[in-house]
């Protein structure tokens, strides 16, 4: 009786290990195809002290590997850590915390035969994307995308694309263009 109990327990332990192996394999598969880097231009500043406060704020983000800044153009080249989930909204928040706005954000995404269709939200690696003005294209490999959501472009630009954006109150859908 006790022997059977231990056997079951041992089997359970084996199954748990197997389950963990599968989970890890899945996670690393997802993580490999992720956002590699981003280029962000901030607005509302000219001085290097202002730029430095954005730089410090971006560097503090846990999934950010490195930040290179171009002070003259208020822009930042951000490289993300491998195998970590990249939260694009956290970049905007970091800039806002420093007291400034995002004027432009482009990021490089790994894709594998993604067909961009009309009026469709496409799931890529657990993130939802809605492509604007790029219908019928097939994406493969590293693709640079521009984020078109309100907090990531200038108010002027937002006015132009406002009516084309996909809005879902339930989940985060990234409006992008190629």
């Amino acid at each position: 009786m006790i022997g059977t109990f231990f056997k079951t327990l041992l089997n359970f332990q084996k199954m748990k290990n197997l389950f963990l192996v599968i989970v890890f394999a899945f996670v690393s598969f997802v993580a490999n195809a992720q956002i590699k880097n981003a280029n962000l231009q901030a607005s509302g500043l000219t001085c290097s002290m202002c730029s430095n406060s954005i730089f410090k704020s971006l560097k503090k983000i846990t999934f950010v590997e490195s930040v290179e800044s171009d002070v003259e153009n208020s822009s930042f080249q951000i490289t993300f850590k491998m195998n970590e989930n990249v939260d694009l909204d956290a970049l905007q928040k970091a800039v806002a915390n420093a007291g400034f706005s995002v004027a432009n954000l482009t990021f490089v995404l790994n894709t594998n035969q993604v067909v961009v269709e009309d009026n469709t939200v496409i799931e890529i690696d657990g993130k939802s994307f809605y492509f604007i003005n790029n219908k019928g294209k097939i994406l493969n490999g590293e693709v640079e995308l521009k984020l078109l959501d309100k907090a990531f472009i200038s108010p002027k630009e937002y006015k132009k694309v406002k009516n084309k954006l996909y809005v879902d109150s339930g989940k985060r859908v990234f409006n992008v263009s190629i």
């Binding site: 607005s43 509302g44 730029s51 430095n52 983000i61 002070v71 420093a98 007291g99 004027a103």
Partner: protein
């Protein structure tokens, strides 16, 4: 002398890139969230009656609670009575309620309030809750940064109370005033940014005015300043404030100030 300063100020306003880290006033832009800024200001104002120099030290700590809300606390130390003497202190808060950003430009508006304690003797008609009078002040600031010119303006109401328990506010004087300022700034160096280690050299010029509410007495000062930003995190200000005109009695309107500032980023920040 006044003419020369005025001319330099107008030149500043006319042309070039602007900086809004003003020396005598605050811009509407708040400091970044989680920024802790330590400052020490020393001012040297010549007493108008020839009795010497009025030296004040104002150590200051400021912190960005959010990108919109800033808190600041100051201590007022003076040598008016010979030795170093702690006259009082103040708490100041500023809230940015409007923020329109574009690349290399912005328009921002903020509301601010200050409450001050002071126990020094009251020796002039001018009301100054930074270092001289106990009291309070609240007002509005607007700052416009255009690629080449930054202009900032402040309007406030300031009210003086009794200084400590010993010095009542004289009932022969007016205890409230309206303040108004207009500031310009210019980045002189570097011509082109290549990194954070470059020392920035800025020129500022500010106009500072006050009008007493009861009797309409007023003054207007001009305050040019130079500023060095070191490694994009420390700052040295050297300013000279001079009275253009005054119809009120002021004990020491003309003088210099020097200020050091050092910034610590991501303080008390949950990652």
């Amino acid at each position: 002398m006044k003419g020369t300063i005025l001319f330099i100020c107008l030149l500043l306003a006319a042309n070039s890139k602007a900086q809004e880290l003003f020396v005598y006033t605050e811009p509407a832009s708040s400091i970044p969230a989680y920024l802790l800024s330590a400052r020490l200001m020393s001012s040297f104002f010549k007493e108008i009656d020839g009795s010497g120099t009025n030296i004040n030290f104002i150590p200051e700590i400021r912190y960005g609670i959010s990108s919109k809300l800033m808190l600041q606390t100051q201590a007022f130390i003076s040598t008016r009575n010979g030795n170093l003497y702690a006259d009082g202190g103040s708490v100041y808060t500023q809230y940015k309620f409007l923020n329109n950003d574009a690349v290399k430009r912005h328009f921002r508006m903020a509301a601010f309030g200050r409450a001050s304690y002071n126990r020094a003797d009251i020796h002039q008609e001018e009301i100054e809750t930074v270092g001289h009078n106990a009291g309070y002040e609240f007002g509005l600031i607007s700052t416009q940064l255009l690629h080449k010119v930054a202009i900032s303006s402040m309007l406030s109401y300031e009210r003086a109370l009794n200084n400590g328990t010993e010095y009542e506010f004289p009932n022969t004087q007016v205890n409230s005033a309206a303040n108004y300022t207009l500031s310009f700034g210019k980045l002189m160096l570097p011509k082109k940014y290549t990194g954070y280690k470059q020392t920035n050299f800025n020129l500022m010029c500010e106009f500072l005015g006050q009008r007493l509410n009861g009797n309409g007495k007023s003054y207007l000062d001009i305050a040019p300043a130079i500023q060095f930003i070191i490694r994009s995190r420390a700052r040295v200000d050297i300013g000279y404030r001079r009275q253009l005109y005054s119809t009120m009695q002021r004990s020491a309107p003309n003088g210099f100030l020097i200020r050091f500032e050092y910034n610590f980023y991501n303080v008390f920040r949950k990652s």
